[in-house]
Amino acid sequence: MVTLTIDGKEVTVPQGTTILEAAKGVDIKIPTLCYHERLNPIGSCRMCVVEIEGFTHPMAACTTPVEDGIEVTTNSERLTRIRQDSLKLILVNHPLDCPICDKGGECLLQDLVYDHGIDQVEYTAAKIERDSSYATPLIRYWPDRCIMCLRCVTACQEIKGIGAISIKGDGYGAQVVVVDQDKCQSCGECLQVCPTGALTADLSRYKGRTWLLERVPTTCTYCGCGCQLELNVQNDRVIAVTTQDGVGVNQGSLCVKGRFGYEFINSDERLTTPLIRKNGELQEAGWDEALSLVAEKFSAIKAEFGGGAIGGLTSARCTNEDNYLFQKFMRAAVGTNNVDHCARL
């Protein structure tokens, strides 16, 4: 174990812990931008710089391991100036198009600029035109908004084990590109970790503001992984699916179906009224007519041939509660064990 002080507080942590992690353990918040809990430290943004007694240069808290007896300062005029400068350098390139950005309202860069009170940027740079080459059918890349934090590239490599995207070029000309089109699965892991609006979900573009959304926690409706996700709802429509880091078996990840396969919910093709076959064609009907017809037919068949002449298939797609009632209906009301579902298919 190693003992150090952070802002005058004594902290004891295991060897190998970073200063950032040690500070978090005692509720000292160091500003971060490229750092993400699920990823190995990237160390690209310089926001988490701290001063260590005896060292001239400030160090990045996310990549610097603790040492016995060191005294760390996380907040000073000098550090604030360094952080402000780092943000200003980002803003030289990053357009303040927040009003039209889908990430507006929950953008880490926006929050940091606000927190650091940056009201003007003294620096300028020659504008470099960049093509938006990184664009899968579902994920849009806005190269001007990209701050080169490398979270997306790291997540694709470390969380998905895929490595489909990388950085091309350097300096202001650098941008994220797909290095292997076949490998990219449009899972949106990159989107999930992007701290700004550089990567956005194309299906959700201009569909709703983050602060007006309701996010309803639920379970994914596709495979048996049981991922925990949030349906982003505005005006009674699902406009996006998001996740919370560290929640559920998926820990913040999703696959292409879980993240983008929600359009069926609000599809125009949804059935909205009962249908009854009349003269060989399905025609719209009222509930009373439809339910009476089913109840009468089932009752008549049950009376003539017994409950065993009726079969029911319940659903691996429906809830436990729906399934419970369905089998109870077949057993108690129809009087048969002819109930099954598509478990085998």
Binding site: L138, I159, G161, S186, C187, P217, T221, C223, G224, G226, V249, N250, S253, C255, V256, K257, G261, E263, S267, E269, R270, L271, T272, T273, P274, I276, L282, Q283, E284, L291, L293, V294, A295, F298, S299, I310, G311, G312, L313, S315, T319, N320, E321, N323, Y324, L325, Q327, K328, F329, M330, A332, A333, N337, V339, D340, H341, C342, A343, R344, L345
Partner: protein, 547 residues
């Protein structure tokens, strides 16, 4: 699953067989990759398809489809011979070993090699990789179960895990990956013809009495014999034994084997009711269609592959005049003279907990933040992430002596290829949900048949050429995708697209116990289709006539 998926992070070896995990369980695949990249876990893939996970594997074996029992017995033969078995575990916790071990004797590497096409060296290396590792996990899915010997395949994997002491331990287990959001829950809830909730058997009088009492009925009114399974119901309809069917949230007219026969069976029904959110291919044949609602409009619970019961929550108001599925069922029941009235899904879960010992401690309140793994018998119980820890559910772990059985339909001169079916990453089951929007169709707009380049060259077929594929039951045309994923002689076709309904070809032969169809093996012939390429249109369902 006997163990949670995160357990693979502490496994020394994970045997992955009959599961294309990266496409069908992408989030579980994250754990496998993390295990390899960060924790030194070794992955052993044994699968007729060279799946993407092979890129992360220590060793990959490609046996002939339908030879699982042979290679599993073959590995165990070597493990026993080499003294890698967990003999203390076997002696203390298991029974039936002697007969089982005797059966293994004939599964020599030479004999197994002949059946599976694997080399003796491959078999030895695989046996060593699993047999010497502690703990080692087994992951499998429909590639193991969708065979006429599916039950025996699963029992064989159970034998292997017990032989090496890998059941009831962290990082071990025999772990079937469930393919649908709530297939575990539908089974748990008694959506099976032989059991009530929590696998309580319908033919045990005490169980029947208990349910009769809970449901306010006389015990005699409850059917005392197991009913028909899905794959028996349709043929029974054709025979006139089943007169009416009620299907909720399923699309057998795309998903079931030998579709031409299924259509014939459905047409024979006197009365056919479908409850769904879309006018599926199945609903289009119904006499009455009842509009239910999606997971986004209801409260309730799903059970994932790890047996974790988790909440779903109502996020939207109900579209049009559709109704909650549970309300439709309750109303129908009431109209048939058996009254059902529930004000909420939570009230139903309270009843489930009362009649189901393994769900006794499950309530909406307890799982509000985080799900619970059953068995969870009471309100204080923390749930059971790992099964069979100190003792097996039945007491002693039972070894089975199992012999190799060939598939129901083997290749011959007329039908020389093997067909396997399954899924792709971007679509789900019969496409009723994933094909309804723009997004996933942009990513994956076409279904193609995976064919080995050697076979393609022999047939004079290039990428995107149209193939005519036929079995004894039907034929389809589908574009070719030249891929080294299937071995030579094997073709893989996904079943998501109704207009390329591969289930016109599949064989309805069933496993005698589980009654699961043999989707993974049937005999087909493959030819280059003549004439111009025909684009397949994504036809929308027929318009409903307004009354």
């Amino acid at each position: 699953m006997t163990n949670p998926i995160a357990d693979v992070l502490v496994s020394e070896t994970v045997l992955v067989t009959g599961t294309n995990t990266t496409e069908n369980h992408p989030i579980f695949a994250n754990y496998l990759k993390e295990a390899v990249l960060k924790h030194g876990t070794k992955i052993l893939v044994i699968d007729p398809r060279r799946i993407d996970l092979v890129d992360y594997a220590e060793l990959y074996l490609q046996p002939k489809p339908g030879t699982d029992i042979a290679w599993i017995n073959g590995l165990m033969h070597i493990i026993v011979k080499e003294g890698w078995a967990a003999q203390d575990y076997v002696d203390e916790r298991c029974e039936g070993y002697e007969e089982f071990a005797k059966n293994l004797e004939k599964f020599t590497p030479a004999y197994v090699s002949e059946i599976t096409g694997l080399t003796e060296a491959e078999l030895y290396a695989a046996a060593k990789l699993y047999g010497q590792a502690r703990p080692a996990s087994i992951l499998y899915a429909m590639g193991i179960t969708q065979h006429t010997c599916g039950t025996d395949n699963v029992k064989s994997l159970g034998n292997l895990a017990m032989l090496c002491g890998n059941l009831g331990v962290e990082g071990g287990g025999v772990n079937p990956l469930r393919g649908q959001n709530n297939v575990q829950g539908a089974c748990d809830m008694g959506g099976l013809p032989n059991v009530y909730t929590g696998y309580q058997k319908v033919d045990i009088p005490e169980v029947r009495e208990k349910f009769a009492k809970a449901w306010g009925l006389e015990a005699e009114t409850l059917d005392d014999k197991p009913g028909l399974v899905l794959t028996e119901m349709f043929p029974a309809a054709a025979e006139g034994k089943v007169k009416a069917m009620y299907i909720m949230g399923e699309n057998p007219l795309v998903s079931d084997p030998d579709l031409t026969h299924i259509e014939h069976c459905v047409k024979a029904l006197d009365f056919f009711v479908v409850q769904d959110i879309f006018l599926t291919e199945t609903a289009q044949m119904a006499d009455v269609v009842l509009p239910g609602i999606s997971f986004a409009e209801k409260d309730g619970t799903f059970v994932n592959s790890e047996r974790v019961v988790q909440r779903i929550r109502k996020a939207l108001t109900i579209a049009g005049d559709a109704r909650e599925d549970r309300e439709i069922i309750a109303e129908l029941s009431t109209r048939m003279g058996y009254e059902m009235k529930y004000d909420s899904a939570e009230e139903i879960m309270q009843e489930i907990a009362q009649v189901t010992p393994s769900y006794g401690g499950i309530s909406f309140e307890r799982i509000a933040e985080k799900g619970l793994a059953w068995p969870c018998p009471d309100s204080e119980h923390p749930g059971t992430p790992i099964l069979h820890v100190d003792t097996f559910a039945r007491g002693k772990g039972l070894f089975f002596a199992i012999d190799h059985q060939p598939p129901a339909e083997v290749t011959d001169a007329e039908y020389p290829f093997i067909l396997s079916t399954g899924r792709v990453l971007s679509h789900f089951h019969t496409g009723t949900m994933t094909r309804k929007g723009e997004g996933l169709n942009k990513v994956h707009s076409e279904i193609k048949a995976e064919i080995n380049p050697e076979d393609a060259a022999r047939l004079g077929v290039k990428d995107d050429d149209l193939l005519a594929i036929s079995s004894r039951r039907g034929s389809i045309k589908v574009k070719a995708w030249l891929s080294d994923r299937p071995a030579s002689g094997v073709v893989f076709v996904p079943f998501h697209f109704h207009e390329i309904a591969v289930n016109r070809l599949t064989n309805a032969a069933l496993d005698p116990v589980a009654k699961i169809p043999e989707y993974k093996v049937c005999a087909i012939k493959v030819e280059k289709a003549g004439g111009a390429k025909k684009e397949v249109s994504d036809k929308k369902p027929k318009k409903v006539k307004k009354s």
